[in-house]
């Protein structure tokens, strides 16, 4: 029963071959080109038709002292008239050699250590991470600086020292990824098939660890360039000419010849930026997300116009809720109308992605995504929440309308006590003293069946069990004695016996406070057991609604029938074959033109595929199906 329905926006299935990876932008490719250019400069400096970087221009008369950048010398000249452009091109080599060596050596060591620590865990891991932590405690540049001052700075010293300093960062990142990966079931699956340890590491772990490590390697590469520059700047440069030494040399002349420091500084900045950008791009490759391919355009069909039931506490008319996603605009709720009267419980059922949760969120207006558009009317006790002023809307939410959500732990603020959250909801909406609110909070906790409420009131959510947490969210929802209660999968995260306790509690409280209740669930048996009326959702629409006994007893819509027949039941013979619904739910970006169930419906014909079914009524049941009522009654 625990179909995991995420509260996040339903991302429609990819319907065709999704492109493997996100498209890399212009900046990415510019960065790649720049890196290639710098590498080319580093490799080919001697072969290029450049001036000799050491030729003194003031002697030869070719370049003036402190000559400004121009046609003669692109980047100008220094105090002796040496060509800055040639110097920069030649200066690329040491930095690239150093960075490449450090990144390769430090990176591979770090990856190795990280994979071992993350896969073996236990004591090995603790020791490795302990050492890493101590190494992190050393400010790297201070250490390098000390080492450099004592032994001098040469490639032979800098490469091993910087590589060692780089190891902990790689190890830490790779260890984190490895742990996350190793926890996934596919590692166990491989072991179950008899894969050896080394095979698991090489085939299953390394490919997943490699990309984050490479991404980090690009960032690390840039960091080495910067560090070498900083050392040179402090007077501890390599003996070779580097960008760092050029900047250091130019820095003192910033008034006379600013180009001497600024141009190499800019070269260094651009290079580091390029490496960072490429690293970032590589990181984006890590989670290949399906790109949704849209389908036919939706034809507008006639919308149901239910006569307004004036005695309804909640009355929704033509509600349409949509929001942008990378794959297009998703219309999660598409033309929904429903009424709930005081004292009744409406069960809303449907599969994940059918729009149940979005329907509830459309009433409260609290969405996890940005850019949500709502149209239609949501009238609660005479007030249309969609057109009401923010103040009057706020005054109703949490006050006349109580909300309970699926995962009680995440629905409670983790860093505040149960009591403070209960007190808050009372004090925001009514003038009540802190002490009185606290007394009432304890009373409420008792009322929802929490033993020893006087102690529990000062506890944090994580100190309570799942069932208790859900009781707390119910207490918060009921604190201001609402007239309408919206419950989104209130028991999905709970065990059956606890679910039973919570549903009983909700039913008795519903009676006691005489509330109208909307109970969203994917579990048909919950609706069957606890809802007076039911609305079946499919593809963002209500396809059938009416009193529970009528709809479940004699379903009219083909989807309702199929849903009922595909659910295992306790009163059918053992090993009875279930009527599976083949295929997948429709895309909410570009839903099918006619009936949204047509692709999966055994009774679909041409008309079903092209014309939106009109709303029909049979007794107290409303439905939208061209060929209703031909299933067996259940």
């Amino acid at each position: 029963m625990a179909t995991v329905e995420t509260n996040a926006a339903p991302i429609p299935e990819a319907k065709s071959f999704a492109p493997e990876r996100p498209k890399m932008g212009v900046v990415f490719w510019t960065s790649v080109s720049w890196i290639l250019l710098v590498i080319a400069a580093a490799v080919l400096a001697d072969l290029l038709p450049l001036r000799d970087p050491d030729a003194l221009g003031i002697r030869t008369g070719e370049i003036q002292r402190f000559e400004s950048p121009g046609v003669n010398a692109w980047f100008g000249g220094d105090g002796q008239g040496r060509d800055l452009f040639a110097q920069i091109v030649h200066g690329a080599r040491p930095a690239m050699v150093l960075s490449a060596a450090v990144t390769l050596i430090g990176g591979s060591l770090g990856v190795l250590i990280g994979v071992v620590a993350g896969y073996v865990r236990g004591r090995t891991d603790a020791v490795i991470m302990g050492i890493a932590e101590i190494m992190f405690a050393f400010p790297a540049i201070v250490l390098l600086f000390a080492v450099g001052a004592i032994w001098g700075i040469t490639m032979a010293i800098l490469i091993p020292v910087m590589a060692v300093l780089a190891v902990p960062s790689y190890a830490r990142i790779v260890r984190g990824v490895t742990i996350a990966v190793a926890e996934r079931d596919f590692v166990d699956a491989a072991r179950a098939m008899g894969a050896s340890q080394s095979r698991v590491v090489i085939k299953e772990l390394l490919p997943l660890v490699a990309l984050p490590a490479i991404a980090f390697g690009f960032l690390g590469f840039g960091l080495v360039i910067a560090t070498e520059g900083a050392l040179a700047f402090l007077g501890l440069g390599l003996e070779q000419r580097t960008w760092g030494s050029l900047i250091a040399g130019g820095q003192g002349l910033i008034r006379e010849a600013p180009h001497l420091a600024l141009i190499p500084a800019t070269a260094m900045f651009l290079t580091i930026m390029a490496f960072n950008y490429v690293g970032d791009g590589v990181r984006e490759l890590i989670d290949p997300r399906p790109i949704v391919v849209g389908r036919k355009r939706r034809a507008d069909g006639p919308r149901p116009t239910t006569a307004s039931a004036s005695d309804a506490l909640l009355s929704i008319r033509d509600l349409r809720t949509s929001f942008p996603t990378p794959g297009g605009v998703v219309t999660a709720v598409d033309g929904v109308s429903l009424d709930v009267r005081t004292g009744r419980t409406l069960g809303v059922v449907g599969e994940s992605g059918s729009g149940k949760t979005m329907l509830l969120r459309s009433i409260t207006g609290a969405f996890p995504v940005v850019g949500v558009q709502r149209e239609g009317r949501v009238v609660v006790d005479g007030t249309d929440l969609l057109s009401a002023s923010p103040a009057s809307r706020s005054a109703m939410l949490g006050n006349e309308i109580g909300v309970i959500s699926q995962n009680p732990l995440s629905a409670l603020n983790p860093v505040r006590t149960v009591g403070s959250q209960l007190v808050e909801v009372m004090r925001v909406h009514r003038a009540i003293s802190k002490a009185a609110a606290r007394a009432r909070a304890i009373e409420l906790l008792e009322q929802v069946g929490i033993p020893r409420p006087g102690r529990r009131v000062d506890m944090y959510p994580h100190q309570l069990s799942g069932g208790m947490q859900q009781r707390v969210t119910i207490a918060i929802a009921l604190a201001n004695e609402p007239r309408l209660l919206l419950a989104d999968e209130p028991t999905t995260a709970l065990d059956v016996t606890i679910q039973d306790q919570i549903l009983r509690l909700l039913a008795s409280l519903g009676d006691e406070y005489n509330m109208a209740v909307v109970l969203v669930t994917h579990d048909l048996s919950v609706v069957r057991g606890w809802a007076d009326d039911v609305a079946v959702m499919y593809g963002g629409q209500i396809v059938e609604s009416g009193p529970t006994s009528a709809v479940f007893g004699d379903p009219q819509h083909r989807y309702t029938q199929a849903l009922l027949e595909s659910t295992p039941r306790l009163d059918l013979p053992i090993h009875s074959r279930l009527a599976a619904i083949e295929g997948q739910p429709p895309s909410l970006v570009a839903p099918p033109a006619g009936c949204r169930f047509a692709d999966r419906c055994a009774g679909a014909d041409e008309r079903c595929r092209s014309e939106v079914p009109v709303l029909e009524r049979l007794g107290s049941v409303e439905f939208r199906c061209w060929h209703p009522g031909q299933g067996e009654a259940r």
Partner: protein, 327 residues
């Protein structure tokens, strides 16, 4: 011994898997242990489906993993076709384990996202291909067809291009390539929608017939378990409460916990009287489970005896074994 005992173990040539007094504990820090599985015995006959039900944390998953030796047991034995599995290591374990395969709850997490579907399904072939056995590419194709993954280009795609139900099909195919005798399924349909769940359940029933499989089906969903199982074991806090053939277990549940579980299913009238089935409170901590009968803190029938004496499984009707003093 609590909810323990082995009166329900059967003898006979057709017993494929036999678990005896299995104990699995996890360290919980400060010298404490989580008693995840505490002396469970059970057997599965050739071609049978054993359903294992119970609430979250009762040790269902741990039992399955320990049988697969993905988890080391503290004591007890697991016999596969009269061969002892406990104690085996290395390549010998790998070879024996081949005859049992496991399907996990989260199909998406069970598939390495970097690999193509065909490579995933062929994995067993890659590991064992050089050895004698049914490991051929033709078989891979046949199995992909059998689980409904036939068709052009499917093998070239990667897991994220598939829905949860299709991913579960891939997992099933991967396991079947190993030509297992026993399939251990840990909540194989819990992450799926009802309509897709029905597809997978039907598929499993078909495959069971076609490939002559024996199955252990772990789930918390009673209706699903009832539909697929021949025999059912009810667990509570690491112990066995009741073992019986499916029909009697659901028609005349004898253990108070089994009755409570069934009565909790909404909208289902079992004719069980409320007072005896309404259980109060919540699951106690598996670190310090109650003495005597572990269910006693929530049991409507509990007496002093239940606190001191641990009930043993005994036969209350033909083929129905219950661990309760008063059943």
């Amino acid at each position: 011994m609590a909810g323990t005992g082995s009166a329900h173990l059967r003898t006979g040539d057709d017993i494929v898997l036999r678990v005896r007094d299995l104990v699995v504990e996890f360290p919980a820090g400060k010298g404490q242990v989580v008693h995840a599985v505490s002396g469970v015995s059970v057997d599965v006959a050739q071609g049978e489906t054993l359903g294992v039900v119970g609430e979250s944390g009762c040790g269902k998953t741990t039992l399955g993993r320990a049988v697969m030796r993905l988890q080391d047991a503290r004591s007890g034995s697991v016999e596969f076709r009269d061969h002892e599995l406990t104690g085996l290591e290395g390549s010998e374990l790998a070879r024996k384990r081949r005859d049992m395969q496991m399907i996990f709850q989260d199909p998406v997490s069970s598939l390495n996202p970097r690999r193509r579907v065909r490579d995933l399904v062929r994995e067993g072939l890659e590991i064992w291909g050089s050895q004698p056995g049914p490991f051929t590419d033709a078989r891979v194709e046949e199995i992909m067809e059998a689980v409904g993954l036939g068709g052009e280009g499917v093998g070239e795609r990667r897991p994220h291009e598939f829905s949860g139900g299709q991913c579960q099909r891939i997992c099933i195919a991967r396991a079947l390539v190993m030509d297992p005798e026993v399939l251990i399924l840990d909540e194989p349909v819990s992450a799926l929608d009802v309509s897709v769940q029905a597809q997978i359940l039907n598929l499993l029933e078909d495959l069971k017939a076609d490939f002559g499989l024996t199955m252990v089906f772990v789930s918390h969903d009673l209706a699903v378990v009832r539909n697929v199982s021949d025999r059912v074991m009810v667990m509570y806090l690491g112990k066995v409460c009741e073992v019986a053939d499916t029909q009697p277990l659901f028609d005349t549940p004898a253990h108070p916990y089994t009755r409570a579980l069934l009565a909790s299913i909404p909208g289902h009238e079992l004719g069980l009287s409320d007072a005896s089935t309404l259980i109060s409170g919540e699951l106690p901590s598996p670190i310090e489970p109650p003495s005597g009968c572990r269910f006693r803190t929530r049991c409507p029938l509990a007496t002093n005896r239940c606190a001191v004496e641990e009930p043993e499984l005994r036969e209350v009707a033909v083929g129905q074994f219950v661990a309760c003093h008063y059943a």
